[in-house]
Symmetry: C2
Subunit: 339 residues, 2 copies
């Protein structure tokens, strides 16, 4: 059974395990600091012969397939897959899953999708609704630019506060508790925060209040302090949003997480050297970082307790054009290597 | 705990109850046969002063608010809301939920979203992850036409096989077992079926194979016959898809559900008299029908066992323009009035 702790946190008493994780990425991501941690780095963002959308579907398939191979499992073993992406009607995920015969829960959480998928997968394993569940998310720079901003051919200038949508996908396979593997100890589904940010070139600012809200509530409900975690990992606020998060927590909540804070959007690129403006974003960003670097560090027990706080900006091009502010959300997953 | 029966069905042993349900609809729906069953019928699809998207958000809020009022609950009592819609990035739901401070799981299942939301809400209550959960879905004729087909001003002709996107929303509040109320006995998350239908004006045909697959698997896993249910309710195949479903089941699976089959897309309109072509569709169609007519009949025990099979077409305008076939999915929820 799941057990509520405090108001918002759900403890997974059966402690589902992460059986395997895999990440596949594009060119720019493969040139970044995590190259060695990814399972597959394409040398171009043109990953297949089809459209950019089909390239993204291809990446999602790569990540899931590699995660399954590592665990010695096949599609037929999977009880549920929770997956989503940024594309209209989540087609990157659906068009991959349709070839697999896996029971499919389509999610939309924008860049928080990986955390949402891991939270729901964990709940499913914990309750016995599934014995094996996959959580997956993807994004592609070119399909996202076309859909949310301008076609690449237009050659638009990007604002310094803009983040670069990651070409990448991550997948993790969850199963019943195994004391030799990392697991999920608790999850929290976030509430939407909207502080009136309407600048679609500054998603980090739009999402930071939601991240702050989720972190404060999680720490309060679990009666923990920031230093009880080796890492509080947001994904993906980028440079601007990360600074805002630390400031919001310090000034409004008297909470200092700076010693343990990392952000997937800052980890995936070398922001000084790569032309990525304020860092990475997109469903594939936190998915690729968590399913590679973080999973491996948990396996090696270099990290023992990670609070993964996936952040998402719940806007569409239509709402942006209509001048609506950008609502943010953040879901939390407490990852642990503790046996 | 949830218990797997057979390969795909998940039994909810704690039998979560449907505490209340509500539906709000637009003009054409209010002129149809279910007028008296809906909680709120607007006399125009221009439900608020804002955009069509904002009108849809308004409808979603109406349905949720009425469901909460009936049960004497407020937003603050809700542990989780599972909601989704057809709009890009599911903004109809997000822009309603952002004003409520409820923990939000964003779903995308196209027209199957209500079934998906009810299945996940049921699982959450069953496992103790939530004490009170909302499931909600919405659609709006005008926002859907603009996004998926043509702006209304264009005055495009609709094909006879096309369904009319329902302007409507439905919400149901789920809680722990109460023997005086209808409940959920089992759920099944569907797999995607794609038989190569690429005609975006014939969604019923694209979804019928998925509905057939889910119905056959559900009956096999639970060892039931069609006549063990008072109603097998698909939502929403419309006229064309319903005929195809019966034919597929009879010819390929030797299963005859015609005596108990109904479809939300056929129930919501008077197809003979209203200019709705092949019937209703959209996330709001099955949501509005299940949360009004079906919920009331279960309450009055005029129906005792209903297999609600929500169907969705997982395409986007981009995939349609790229010539991709339309993948269909169907999720099942076994609703019961049995104490």
């Amino acid at each position: 059974m799941a057990k509520r702790i405090g108001r918002y946190v759900i403890e997974l008493e059966n402690r589902p395990s992460l059986l395997s994780g895999a990440a596949a990425v594009g060119k720019t991501e493969g040139e970044g600091p995590l190259r060695e941690d990814f399972d597959l780095c394409y040398e171009s963002d043109k990953i297949c012969e089809g459209s950019w959308e089909q390239c993204e579907t291809h990446l999602a398939a790569d990540a899931v397939n590699r995660a399954l191979i590592k665990a010695g499992k096949t599609y037929g073993d999977i009880d549920l897959i929770f997956a989503g992406d940024l594309l209209n009607q989540c087609v990157a995920s659906a068009f991959f899953v349709k070839n697999t015969d896996m029971p499919f829960v389509g999610l939309f959480g924008a860049c928080s999708t990986m955390a949402l998928a891991m939270a729901l997968s964990g709940l499913s394993i914990n309750s016995g609704a599934a014995k094996l569940a996959l959580a997956a998310a993807s994004s592609h720079f070119c399909s996202a630019e076309r859909q949310f901003r301008f076609p690449l051919e237009y050659g638009g200038q990007r604002a310094p506060t803009a983040q670069r949508t990651v070409t990448g996908a991550g997948a993790v396979l969850l199963g019943e508790h195994d004391k030799h593997l990392p697991g999920i100890r608790a999850v929290m589904i976030g509430r939407i925060r909207d502080q009136g940010i309407a600048d679609a070139n500054n998603m980090g600012a739009a999402m930071a209040p939601a991240a702050a809200c989720t972190i404060v509530d999680f720490l309060r409900d679990t009666d923990k302090k920031p230093e009880d975690f080796d890492m509080i990992l947001t994904g993906d606020l980028g440079l601007v949003g990360s600074r805002l998060l630390l400031e919001l927590l310090q000034k409004r909540e008297n909470t200092d997480i700076s010693a343990v804070h990392q952000d997937c959007g800052n980890l995936i690129f070398d922001i000084e050297k790569q032309d990525v403006h304020a860092g990475g974003s997109g469903c594939g960003c936190s998915a690729a970082v968590v399913c590679s670097l973080i999973f491996k560090k948990l396996m090696r027990r270099e990290l023992n307790n990670v609070l993964f706080v996936g952040t998402g900006a719940l806007m569409s091009p239509t709402t942006a054009q209509q001048g609506s502010p950008i609502p943010g959300i953040a879901h939390a997953v407490w990852l642990t290597s503790d046996a």
